[in-house]
Symmetry: C2
Subunit: 347 residues, 2 copies
């Protein structure tokens, strides 16, 4: 089969690899219909996260079950399924608590020795616990299928950030980061009943999506000026709930700076210097909570999927470029130079 | 009147100062019966927190109302009262939410221009909202009066740490810091229903108090060895709820290292390097929450006081040295060289 591999920074290839195949009785093989490129893939693309030459890449996909191992009971060949970005066994203590990302038998697509999502097919360990069935008729609805793909990462991650930030009905929320996760954070905050949502961003195409997703205010300033602007919008107090969806020192500094005393920062940006933006003196004096991390999106799919199916939320606008498998390297380039927000890969 | 002043690092004096007096109609003057020295006072004593020469010091006291301003309605001369370590107006948005430490008219005893707790009397701004009445007959019960003094800071701060750490019935809790706040954290965790409480400490007099307060295990190791020991006690997982009651990089590093995935660190140690102990990569991967800060103890007094009055909890053993006002400088020395755990000042 063909799949995306990364050989060095900026060296993304699509090449022939061994076919995805059942190795253990709990495995399934999924033929990929939709995949995408994640902002976090760019850390590897830019050489800021180490990869072995030739390692697979991509951790977001949905598709059709093509084979099942002998112990797979809840899935059958032909089922339309979405995969969260990590697999999990569903029975360990952490899985039972919903923290599937800490599963003792878990892992992430594209890890060494495993298929990545940006390929024709994927071997899925612990398939029963990992994959979630989608309604079969979604396959014929292009827009819906694209929206459901966000359950694999960005929509669940935005939701995790909103929960971490403590979004409640009536809350004032601010979102640092105008990437796909930040935008899904806006959508998640709106869904959770936020009254006011301040999106920080300066690219109009993105802030337009933020407004479509529920942002009531847009702040184009950055750094100290952004902090001042958000404070002015919030009677000097800051936002109850702040979503940090970037992961740099600057973004975290801004997030802390715009949080109201007693509020929380929900952070889902993979840390790349963000610790340097944590002013613990400020956080201490104002009782600002820091809560977040890698999102256990598997646990959120049952909550979020019905709202996508019935149209309550539609995250599909986060995709603004579509490529086929051969176009994946071009997709990385477009996300790297920010000419694309998020790239959809169709098969 | 006479009060404690700080002139330079290690230069604590007891000297004549202007009498505490009503300045605004919401003020009261409290004649101090009991005060104490806080671990956080040592930051000033050691020159690690700046003070103006001659500034008052001390922020924990209880006593008797001696004068009331014209607008004070809920207190009368002769009332026995305890003061939280910050005053607050009781009516601003933050106070209404219980975050009295962020009161827009708040402040802390010993701030420039204000009386400190380690003196004969204190002018109390916003007296109605700040002071909490104690039963009059407590004045004749020496042990009870000492226990009630902990409502001014350490017991409430330990409780804040336990809440921040997310202590719940059945939880496994670990406490980093064997000072008075850490020990009150043990007591607070026990009160909130923790099943297992691991106290980290190597001074037997202190760990004996920890056991008396409810600790089920004591870990004497430090640093990496402490992390390994706590992990061994918790099937490799770490504790659900970890109290950080020191404020250094080392203590925070240990706290993060012993937190179970999905758990939380409740931090109340005034940050003195503790940000350097935050490994955001570890926290991100394991979804570890950081929650805490300066404790709004005023809000906790109504909850905690009844449990002290009826004997459910007795924090008084955190005091192991008693001095009179003239003995305060000696008390600082004893806490600085760790020969005393916490020093009571009687008048």
């Amino acid at each position: 089969m063909r799949a995306t591999t990364i050989h060095a920074p900026h060296d993304i290839r699509v090449e022939e690899v061994p076919d995805a195949a059942i190795r253990r009785p709990e495995d399934a093989v999924v033929r990929v219909l939709r995949a995408c490129i994640c902002g976090s893939d760019l850390w590897a693309y830019r050489g800021e996260a180490a990869r072995q030459p030739g390692q697979r890449i991509g951790h977001e996909f949905l598709g059709v079950v093509e084979q099942t191992g002998a112990d797979v009971a809840g899935l059958k060949v032909g089922d339309l399924v979405v995969a969260p970005f990590t697999w999990s066994d569903g029975v360990c203590e952490y899985c039972v608590e919903g923290l599937t990302t800490s599963c003792v038998h878990g892992g992430i697509w594209g890890a060494v020795g495993h298929d990545g999502g940006q390929g024709e097919a994927v071997r899925v360990p612990h398939a029963d616990a990992t994959l979630v069935k989608l309604p079969a008729d979604a396959v014929s609805d292009d827009r819906l299928l694209t929206a459901l793909l966000t359950l694999s990462d960005v929509m669940g991650t935005g939701h995790h950030a909103a929960l971490g930030a403590g979004v409640r009905p009536g809350a004032t929320v601010a979102v640092v980061g105008d990437g796909a996760v930040g935008l899904c954070g806006v959508l998640a905050a709106k869904r959770l009943g936020a009254e006011r949502i301040i999106a920080l961003g300066r690219h109009q195409a993105r802030t337009d999506i933020a407004r479509k997703f529920g942002a009531t205010d847009v702040v184009a300033e950055r750094g100290e000026a952004a902090v001042a602007a958000v404070r002015e919008l919030t009677r000097g107090q800051g936002a109850h709930a702040v979503i940090e969806a970037v992961g740099t020192g600057q973004s975290m500094r801004t997030a802390i700076g715009i949080t109201r005393p007693g509020g929380a920062v929900g952070y889902v940006g993979v840390p790349h210097g963000s610790a340097t933006g944590l002013d613990l003196g400020v956080m201490f004096d104002a009782n600002i909570t820091l809560r977040g991390g890698v999102a256990p999106v598997r646990s959120y799919i049952p909550d979020l999927m019905p709202d996508i199916l019935d149209g309550t939320i539609d995250p599909s606008p986060v995709f603004d470029l579509s490529v086929d498998l051969d176009g994946v390297p071009r997709g990385y380039g477009a996300m790297d130079d920010r000419s694309a927000l998020k790239v959809l890969v169709t098969f």
